[in-house]
Point group: C2
Chain length 416, copies 2
């Protein structure tokens, strides 16, 4: 095999705990459910453990689709120009059908965030757009929370190398593995109980925010003076949540955020990113954007600006917000001091906003709202959903009520 083998650097007991948490907490996989699993090729050891736990939990079928960095690159090396406007729609349509028939969905994250950094950004943009269009029907089942789903992660060596560039590769894999295990709470004596406790804490925060019913949040900090109007009838969520199929699951492992839907037309001011954003193989750093009437009218970045602008041009909704999320600066992931170059981790180390598609579950009675109703209440729609980090220990947040009164929400990055 030409796959790098650093699995000896990964604690096998904790890896098995991660697999168990992914199935029992992340998915709450039900007896008789099919499972659609996607993973980087190097994540084979975790896939095998997850598959075993899935069958123990009564899975009907477990079907894994692997992505291989080498074959992704082969397309850029050898593919004809027309190839970059194509995507395997047949596969995504099949996945959409699986979800319609009740399958759960688990994604193992851990791809090399810099894989495509050296490739032609026009081709990267075209390939991403073709993929987004083809994937939309499947993604909608996820973003509408029709089914129980989860993302967890595996310490891919190419990712570990980026996070710990100065360490020998085995040591980097070991450190990234340990950081993933700690953030995923599988280093605790009883990870299942630890997750129950954590979910209760996040519930407390979202319950308070739902009681306040703020009309907007006002962010101030270095390079940031941003007012994010919240959607009419928005609802805050965090931690475990119940999908439309009735299954209560933890879609993200790890998760530290409480989040809701901004009003797509009511965002004003300017904001600066506080951590780099890794988007499908390209790093976008020091983003600075200005909003008018909810729309990004100016966008800069010190790195990856061309890809950022391609992203913003995906569709009209790509220039508007679909999510705003609060994470204290002292959260364990932030406290680790590690920059993961991976949204699943970095968004849980920092307050963030997301360009693009909103979550219908972040509305009161969201499950029964039509697409038109969601739009009328300020919910954004787009082919994309891209989180980027705007929190730090220098950011203050006020909640602004309908009558204009202000309530401190966060001070210097901590709950006020």
């Amino acid at each position: 095999m030409t796959l790098p083998d650093f699995s000896a650097a990964i604690d096998p007991v904790k890896l098995d705990k991660l697999a168990e948490v992914a199935i029992r907490v992340g998915l709450q996989l039900q007896k008789g459910q099919d499972l659609v699993l996607t993973a980087p090729l190097v994540a084979v050891p975790l896939v095998r453990l997850i598959t075993a736990h899935a069958y123990k939990a009564g899975a009907s079928t477990v079907t894994t689709f692997y992505a291989d960095e080498e074959t992704t690159l082969a397309r850029y090396r050898h593919g004809h120009d027309e190839s970059f406007d194509r995507a395997p729609g047949w596969l995504y349509d099949g996945m959409a059908k699986a979800y319609e028939n009740g399958a759960a969905r688990l994604a193992i994250a851990g791809d090399n965030p810099m894989l495509l950094a050296e490739e032609d950004s026009a081709k990267v943009g075209r390939a991403n757009k073709a993929n987004s269009i083809a994937y939309k029907p499947a993604l909608e089942h996820i973003s509408n929370f029709d089914i129980n789903w989860n993302i967890c992660s595996y310490p891919n060596p190419s990712w570990a190398k980026l996070v710990f560039p100065d360490l020998p590769i085995e040591e980097a894999v070991r450190k990234l593995a340990d950081a993933i295990f700690a953030a995923s709470r599988v280093d605790r004596a009883d990870p299942i109980a630890a997750w129950a406790e954590h979910n209760a804490e996040l519930k407390k925060r979202s319950t308070w925010l739902n009681g306040e019913r703020f009309a907007a949040l006002h962010f101030t900090g270095p390079g940031t003076d941003l007012t994010v109007g919240l959607a009419d009838g928005h609802e805050w969520h965090g931690g475990a949540s119940t999908a439309k199929n009735g299954v209560t699951c933890n879609p993200n492992i790890p998760t530290e955020e409480v989040f809701t839907t901004p009003h797509a037309l009511k965002v004003e001011g300017h904001v600066s990113s506080t951590k780099p954003l890794s988007h499908q193989g390209t790093l976008i750093d020091n983003i600075q954007v200005r909003f008018e009437g909810g729309r990004i009218v100016e966008a800069k970045a010190s790195r990856g600006e061309a890809v950022l602008n391609k992203v913003l041009d995906t569709d009209e909704g790509a220039r508007r917000l679909g999510e705003v999320a609060l994470v204290p600066h002292s959260s364990p992931i932030s406290a680790s001091g590690v920059l993961f170059y991976n949204t699943l981790f970095d968004e849980n180390a920092s307050c963030h906003i997301a360009l693009g598609q909103c979550y219908s579950k972040c509305f009161l009675d969201g499950a029964s709202l039509s697409q038109d109703q969601i739009k009328a209440q300020g919910g954004n729609s787009s082919l994309i959903h891209i989180d980027w980090m705007i929190g730090s220990d220098k950011v203050d947040i006020d909640g602004i009520s309908a009558d204009g009164s202000k309530v401190p929400v966060m001070r210097k990055g901590e709950w006020a």
Copy 2:
């Protein structure tokens, strides 16, 4: 990684030639075609080379679906009983859709033929049946030759161990790799030219048989006295062949056979297998069956008889023939003396018959015949198509013409 790494035992130049032959001869992949690739997980090195050649040839997208022996076994170890009646229909339906939209299909063979030998044969049978039913729409595009398709193979260590049980594993992988390369003609100076020559030779044999228009073939040998009536308007094929999408491809690499469609109602007598048959993880050896009116009315095997009987009970067509094929005993694969426990190789070392589905292309003007017409002419239909070997250097074959006259076709396993 927990994958065994014996790729150092595999000649990288010949492996790349195999990838090139698979794309340029096996598939004749067309510019703009999507490619659906399936492979055992250990075949990653060959998948990467094939993907590169596919993109060089102008592939739109190359999508690989891997099968992992470990996760297949995990289901038998941990799966609940109901799981064994389920299959990932969403994936197979997606594949069928890909073929309808013009995708080509390449399968890398090389799974451990004994993988499921120790598992509960009732569960193996149920899982196979569920899979066959779910896979039928996709398989029909292959068996109807709607698209260009190919099977080639990779020296999986678990397969190599079975073929060369007395050798150290690296040595077994090396020997199996070399046997695959020789049989696939990629050990020649110019493999593409070697395939053109081989295709011309097979064409000469099928042209002669089509000129003779035999009504039946009569096989005699140890434990065998079998008359195989041929379907009305049958046509012999061998080597390169043109799919309904207009692409001339070599569906099997290697291939040594010329083959046609028997009459599903006109097979009489008894026949003994001359090589073991490996069927989805179980070895079936010393098969002895008796036909009456085209139907198997008695079936025995010294090993795997329970699985054989499950196979025969799949549906009515599973007890009738869908293919008869002629291969000289002196063919290179047979001459190698290696028993591959893999149909792709062993069927090309020996005359064989297949239970189940017939190929519509093995009829004169087959592409324009309806399913009803094919049935009326004697074509069999079934969820399965399983080749098994009945040729040896002790078998004689006569062609029987409509007027009852006999023409020698093979004597002691060689063309007469």
